[in-house]
Symmetry: C2
Subunit: 120 residues, 2 copies
DNA sequence: GTTTTATATAGTAAAACTACTATATTCAAA
DNA sequence: TTTGAATATAGTAGTTTTACTATATAAAAC
């Protein structure tokens, strides 16, 4: 029902697109989800998520450019964390969806997807 | 708090990434949002959103491949609609976020973004 | 001082996306 | 049966992403 009352503004569409696009990569989703537990160093992400270090840095750099993560430096280590609750909100949204899919409340089967919608 | 209880499954991450990435384009967000009002023909989208027809078809094809939209053909016209509530859920999530940003409840200012998180 | 450790950066080839133009296809209409 | 309307497709040049390898930096540890 958030359809007509909360019309997505043109300016926001740009931001939303950029955020969604950036979040649209398996590794980055994993990283963001991992960061929900609090700030982590590149090495922790690298080891715990089993991703190559340069790849991790690359993803983090992209996400930093797009304001998804921030970091603080301490000696030779960089501690990254989520930049905004916005990101968590989306992640939770995805989690909710997953829950409904797992519980069978929704069909995510596709190919068989039926959706008549309110066709007048 | 959907962190540890509802762990995002590896399989879902793939789907989520594909969906988010696909939604990560201004035109496609506009189209999806437009389709929330019910099914529309290519021509309607083309005219109402002021997007070139081939571009619209291109986006719709991609979104169909990624199971975001479905369509039914009637004569020479194609009626497109959203394939799953999943998509609406995400859109609503984005709308909510926008609402909070507009109301100043959150800062989306970035660059100034502060986020200490629960640093132990 | 020299060697690790922790990260960022450069460089790059292959793949995917974007935005267009031109054209084919299929119905509907005259 | 020719025309026009509604869409899909093909083709393509330019731009981003991706995924790696190699390397530069800077702080720590010896």
């Amino acid at each position: 029902m958030t359809t007509d009352q909360t019309k997505i503004s043109p300016e926001f569409i740009q931001n939303a697109a950029r955020i969604l696009k950036t979040l649209g990569h398996p590794d980055r989703i994993k990283i963001v989800e991992y960061l929900e537990n609090g700030e982590k160093t590149v090495g922790q992400i690298h080891r715990d998520l089993e991703l190559q270090q340069p790849i991790v840095s690359q993803h983090l750099k992209m996400m930093h450019d797009r304001d998804i993560v921030i970091f603080r430096q301490e000696g030779t280590r960089y501690f990254y964390s989520l930049a905004n609750n916005f990101i968590i909100k989306i992640l939770n949204c995805m989690s909710d969806v997953q829950g409904k899919l797992n519980s069978g409340e929704w069909d995510f089967d596709f190919s068989t997807t039926s959706n008549q919608k309110e066709i007048a």
